[in-house]
């Protein structure tokens, strides 16, 4: 991947790629001292967080994070170079970045909608991972129908006072900052929304309560956050009052991988505790799994299912490649808006297939010494529902695709 892309680099990209490669060769972090979770959203301990934060800070200081943002806000001031850094980090199999919500969602939103001095205040520590960010969108009564959020901000003098309840808030237990969608006017559904960034860590016990929620896997990592008269300065409002929904669209577009700015991405590190959710990993598993007189890889029905998966996976990779070939596109958002839907559903079906290949042994969970692959596949399968539900369920994604790309009438 990185070799193939390298041949299309501009001179500036080529120079930067060489730099990234050299730096990574010398500075890629060693084995983690603790077992890492499968994704940043399941970081549970400060030991895990500390190791990952140190890596993100080093990568930022070396210029591999935020490359395409202007220098004035702590970025690298380059053009279309984050993709290059991402490819090199992936090829080098580095650990993932802990501040995923910050990098993927908060940064582009703050960049496009915050005041200049707020950008300069917040973005450098976001890029370095020193400040972890979380996202306050969903509420007990506002899931797929996000615009029905009720958490309220009331203006008192030059401050906003926030009261309400946010849920499914990944990383809130470590977060300094939260991007938050609030109601500032109860008489208009969409135009009554405003968007803020709020410092939650500084207010713990003084207006903010973070309580962990436990996932179906038994892991923690996401939370509910209760606001009780939290005071926030008006300069932390993004864009105009009543424009919260439009600002939220910037966040969601980037969250779903369809935004203007490339998200800094690192990953691919393989160690005893993490595995890749790929068809080729399931093929390896099938080869090692006894079935009758042979292995699961000899079973014609499983072979057919494995190849179906492989084809879907290659299809998504080729969609991403084709999305940069103008002459082979019909509608500019047609492929980008499929990304989140496909990536999450493909990961889910790969994990489901792995569990099917394991057969009876898929009943063994993490911690059981007889569990194949340390019980990671049942864990991945259960965790995959986080992906098909979060950031707009697959059903909501299909509405968006039907309405925005095919032009079908809105289902509401």
């Amino acid at each position: 991947m990185s070799e193939a892309s390298a041949r299309k680099d501009t001179p500036a990209q080529a120079e930067f790629r060489a730099y990234c490669r050299d730096w990574l060769a010398a500075n890629k972090p060693g084995e983690p001292p603790v077992r890492l979770p499968q994704t940043p959203l399941e970081i549970m301990t400060t030991e895990q967080l500390g190791y990952l934060q140190a890596w993100q800070k080093a990568a930022y200081e070396a210029g591999l994070v935020g490359c395409d943002y202007p220098e004035a806000v702590g970025g690298g001031g380059r053009k279309d170079c984050q993709r290059v850094a991402n490819e090199e980090m992936l090829a080098a199999r580095t650990p993932f970045f802990p501040n995923v919500i910050g990098l993927g969602m908060a940064a582009p939103t703050v960049f496009y909608h915050a005041r200049e001095e707020v950008k300069a205040e917040l973005l450098p520590r976001l890029f370095s991972g020193e400040d972890i960010w979380c996202q306050g969108f969903s509420e007990p009564g506002a899931g797929s129908d996000l615009a029905s959020v009720q958490t309220f901000a009331e203006k008192r003098d030059d401050k906003w006072v926030i009261n309400g309840h946010k849920v499914w808030t990944s990383l809130a237990h470590f977060a300094e900052w939260m991007i938050i969608l609030l109601r500032t006017d109860k008489s208009h559904k969409y135009d009554g929304l405003s968007y803020f960034v709020v410092p939650i860590r500084a207010a713990l016990g003084k207006g903010v309560t973070v309580r962990p929620l436990i996932k179906i896997t038994g892991e923690t990592g996401f939370n509910e956050v209760i606001f009780d008269n939290l005071e926030v300065d008006d300069r932390y409002r993004l864009d105009e009052l009543g424009k919260g929904w439009q600002v939220a669209m910037t966040t969601l577009l980037h969250e779903r991988g369809a935004g203007e700015l490339q998200t800094p991405r690192s990953g691919g590190m393989k160690n005893r505790s993490s595995h890749n959710i790929t068809t080729s990993a399931v093929i390896d598993l099938a080869r090692q799994t006894r079935r009758g007189d042979g292995t699961a890889a000899d079973d014609p029905l499983l072979r057919d299912k494995l190849m179906r998966q492989l084809i879907r996976e290659e299809g998504l990779r080729q969609n991403q490649r084709r999305s940069r070939v103008q002459a082979l596109l019909d509608h500019p958002m047609r492929l980008p808006l499929q990304n989140k839907l496909l990536a999450s559903e493909i990961a889910q079906s790969i994990a489901a297939l792995a569990v099917e290949v394991e057969g009876m042994a898929s009943s063994l969970y993490m911690g059981d010494s007889n569990a194949p692959a340390g019980g990671q596949w049942p864990l991945s399968y259960m965790n995959s529902y986080g992906m098909t539900i979060a950031a707009g369920t697959s059903e909501v994604q299909r509405n968006i695709l039907g309405e925005r790309v095919l032009g079908l009438p809105k289902s509401k």
């Binding site: 070799e3 193939a4 892309s5 041949r7 299309k8 093929i283 099938a286 080869r287 007189d293 042979g294 292995t295 890889a297 000899d298 079973d299 014609p300 072979r303 057919d304 494995l306 190849m307 179906r308 492989l310 084809i311 879907r312 290659e314 299809g315 998504l316 080729q318 969609n319 490649r321 084709r322 940069r324 070939v325 103008q326 002459a327 082979l328 019909d330 047609r334 492929l335 499929q338 839907l341 496909l342 059903e395 299909r398 509405n399 695709l401 039907g402 309405e403 790309v405 095919l406 032009g407 079908l408 009438p409 809105k410 289902s411």
Partner: protein, 375 residues
């Protein structure tokens, strides 16, 4: 060799695709197509070759039939990726013509090496050709051919020959004393009798061809190797046709469910209609991306061509089945009638799904490559 990022789909390819789209839209809009091929709905009607020969002559004049013929053989030598763009438009128009058949013969002739030049010269001169290599059971393994070459002539029957009624030349796979050979045959020669098949697809014709001592020029004495080299391009181009046809099915159905109202709402408001159509789009895009990847592999990564072409054809076959099913179902009662155009594409896709291997067959071959043969 590795693939270029843009599939090698450059400016020339984009222009060709665009002008093909315009050509078909102008000369054969769907109402004209329907009038041309669907005038007689009677089941069991006499099979006839329903196409616009004058329009085909224009297409030959434009040079589109010799795009895949190498320059040294008098052709244009365009990459498979560019040809796929053209074929996608042929599929979108469901254009009845022997273009795909001729391209298939071209790729096999190219794989024959020097001896193939004879056939390539005919194609460069505007002659349409088709492959004759399938047995009566419709085997997708060319080694199953029933035709035998002995005493200087071809004997036996080739089945499921595509667009035979529109072609002047046949490329026949026959068993010989030395193995399998490929023979370049004049379709009008003595000893060649084409028996037209009565088929579901109204936009193609098909025949079984009886050889009774017919003469043929041997262009390869290692047919299986030549076919092995050419099949990835053949699978890929058929998949490109299916992607184009699938896009027509999608857009036509979207238009219908946007205008047709029930319960005071356009049908497309209902998620029971909307979500399946989104799924059709998703499957088309997967197949399309895999088609250009496979085409590009044929051009610049031949070691991976078979693997990627299996993916493309398997994906396209499954997509075509789903797109066809949704196109008829979402049109409701009118979709079940002869007057509604969706049946033309439903039938073409049905035919394409099984031609040169269905989805399961391609996945089984892919598994042999990726996992290794099963114990």
């Amino acid at each position: 060799m590795t693939q270029p990022n843009n599939y090698g789909f450059g400016e020339e390819a984009a222009l060709l695709k665009e002008s093909a789209r315009k050509f078909f839209r102008e000369h054969l809009p769907t109402d004209r197509l329907h009038a041309l091929v669907a005038s007689d709905p009677t089941p069991g009607r006499e099979p006839t070759c329903q196409w616009d020969e004058a329009l085909w002559a224009q297409l030959v004049e434009l040079g589109w039939t010799m795009l895949a013929v190498p320059e040294e053989a008098g052709g244009v030598g365009m990459p498979v990726a560019a040809v796929a763009g053209l074929v996608e438009e042929v599929g979108r128009a469901a254009f009845p013509c022997p273009l795909l058949a001729t391209l298939n013969a071209t790729y096999v002739l190219v794989a024959c090496g020097e001896a193939g030049a004879l056939g390539l010269a005919d194609i460069a001169a505007g002659k349409a050709a088709t492959l004759a290599l399938t047995d009566r059971h419709g085997s997708w393994d060319p080694a199953a051919t029933e035709v035998v070459y002995r005493d200087g002539g071809l004997h036996g029957t080739a089945w499921f020959v595509q667009d035979a009624g529109k072609c002047e030349r046949l490329l026949v796979c026959a068993s010989t004393d030395a193995g399998y050979g490929l023979f370049w045959v004049d379709a009008n020669a003595t000893g060649v009798t084409a028996e037209a098949d009565g088929i579901v697809d109204l936009t193609r014709d098909q025949a079984h061809i009886v050889f009774d001592g017919a003469p043929g020029v041997e262009v390869s004495n290692n047919a299986l190797s030549a076919l092995h080299h050419a099949m990835p391009a053949i699978w890929t181009l058929l998949a490109a046709d299916m992607v184009g046809a699938g896009e027509w099915q999608l857009q036509t159905t979207v238009e219908y469910v946007t205008t047709r109202k029930q319960f005071d709402r356009p049908l497309g408001f209902f998620q029971a209609i909307k979500h399946p159509l989104v799924e059709v789009m998703v499957q088309i895009d997967e197949a399309k991306s895999l088609v250009y990847n496979a085409a590009c592999a044929c051009d610049s990564e031949p070691g991976k061509a078979a693997q990627y072409a299996h993916m493309a054809k398997a994906s396209a076959s499954d997509m075509a089945a789903y797109a066809s099913s949704r196109s008829v179902q979402s049109h409701g009662g009118i979709g079940f009638t002869w007057e509604c155009y969706v049946h033309l594409y439903f039938k073409r896709q049905k035919h394409s799904q099984v031609l040169w291997g269905d989805g399961a067959w391609h996945r089984a071959r892919l598994a042999d490559i990726v996992i290794g043969t099963a114990a």
